[in-house]
């Protein structure tokens, strides 16, 4: 089990992950943009790191900043919640290369399911019935 998890999301999504971690006795790190400094997820987490300006493209979507925050807080894993970087295969790969567990599907699974044509071919190969068209 993990000792410390960084939650790469905000608001209700982050709050739910932090609550679950608390139940499991896992320490949590919240990340936030300047505009979310007073958010509940920031107050609930054991540690909180400001990662950028209000725009999510300058904060929650910046892989480099999330990873830097993970490095300085020395976490074992990152939980992306949903939305933001949760379906970003590249992010999952970067986590892997930094020895941080990405809590979610493998980059391979994400790559093979993000494209409809590839997904269909995969389903066909596995013998799953698919509608034509």
């Amino acid at each position: 089990m993990f000792e410390k998890v960084l939650v790469a999301n905000r608001g209700e999504i982050a709050v739910r992950i932090i609550r679950a971690c608390k139940e499991l006795n896992i320490r949590t790190v919240a990340v936030y943009s300047e505009v979310d400094a007073n958010s509940m997820h920031v107050q609930m987490a054991d540690e909180a790191i400001c990662i950028g300006k209000a725009a999510s493209s300058e904060s929650y979507l910046r892989i480099d900043r999330i990873i830097s925050a993970a490095e300085i807080t020395d976490v074992d894993a990152i939980h992306p919640g949903y939305g933001f970087l949760s379906e970003n295969a590249h992010f999952a790969e970067v986590c892997e290369s930094c020895n941080i567990r990405f809590i979610g599907p493998s980059p391979r699974a994400m790559n093979s399911l993000e494209d409809k044509a590839v997904s269909r071919a995969l389903a066909k190969k596995a013998g799953v019935e698919i509608p034509t068209g």
């Binding site: 400094a37 790191i49 400001c50 990662i51 209000a54 300085i72 807080t73």
Partner: protein, 156 residues
């Protein structure tokens, strides 16, 4: 109400992240407001702010608005150099070499004041203003977050 009372309120507001505070007494009315996002509102000067006995209160109100942009002039005239990224703060280019700047060092906008290491990349941070370093706020090797003040500088 005295100046120190207002200062105490401002401290409490900061501590508890309160952005607006209003107090009405018999003969006076006080309204304090802190900036939340990017903007640092000007000291309140509308009619609701009536403190005839304390005309010098305005500077302490402006001090209560947190510096939010890259560098904001506090009431002392000093500017914060803030961290543009998350990482580890280093005062010198290598452990053996001398610090980039010390208190009293004169800098211009291009002077490198420190390094912030993020994801094994050393990023040189420039002063971005001309002035004199008056305070170093972070210890060498400590982690810093986005927007955290690193140095205080007196612009010239």
């Amino acid at each position: 109400m005295e100046l120190k009372d207002i200062k105490a309120i401002i401290d409490l507001m900061k501590k508890n992240s309160i952005t607006e505070f209003e107090l009405e007494e018999k003969d006076s009315k006080l309204r304090l407001k802190r900036g939340i996002n990017g903007g640092s509102p000007a000291p309140q000067s509308d009619d609701s702010f009536q403190m005839p006995s304390l005309p010098t209160i305005a500077p302490s109100i402006s001090a209560a608005t947190p510096p939010t942009t890259a560098s904001v002039i506090a009431n002392t005239g000093e500017i914060d150099i803030k961290s543009p990224m998350i990482g580890t703060f280093y005062r010198s280019p290598s452990p053996e070499s001398a610090s980039y700047v010390e208190v009293g060092t004169e800098v211009n906008s291009e002077t490198v004041v420190c390094i912030i290491e993020a994801m094994k990349v050393m990023n040189e941070i420039k002063a971005e203003v001309k002035g004199v370093i008056t305070q170093v706020l972070i210890e060498n090797g400590k982690p810093v977050e986005f927007g955290q003040p690193l140095f205080k500088i007196r612009p010239v």
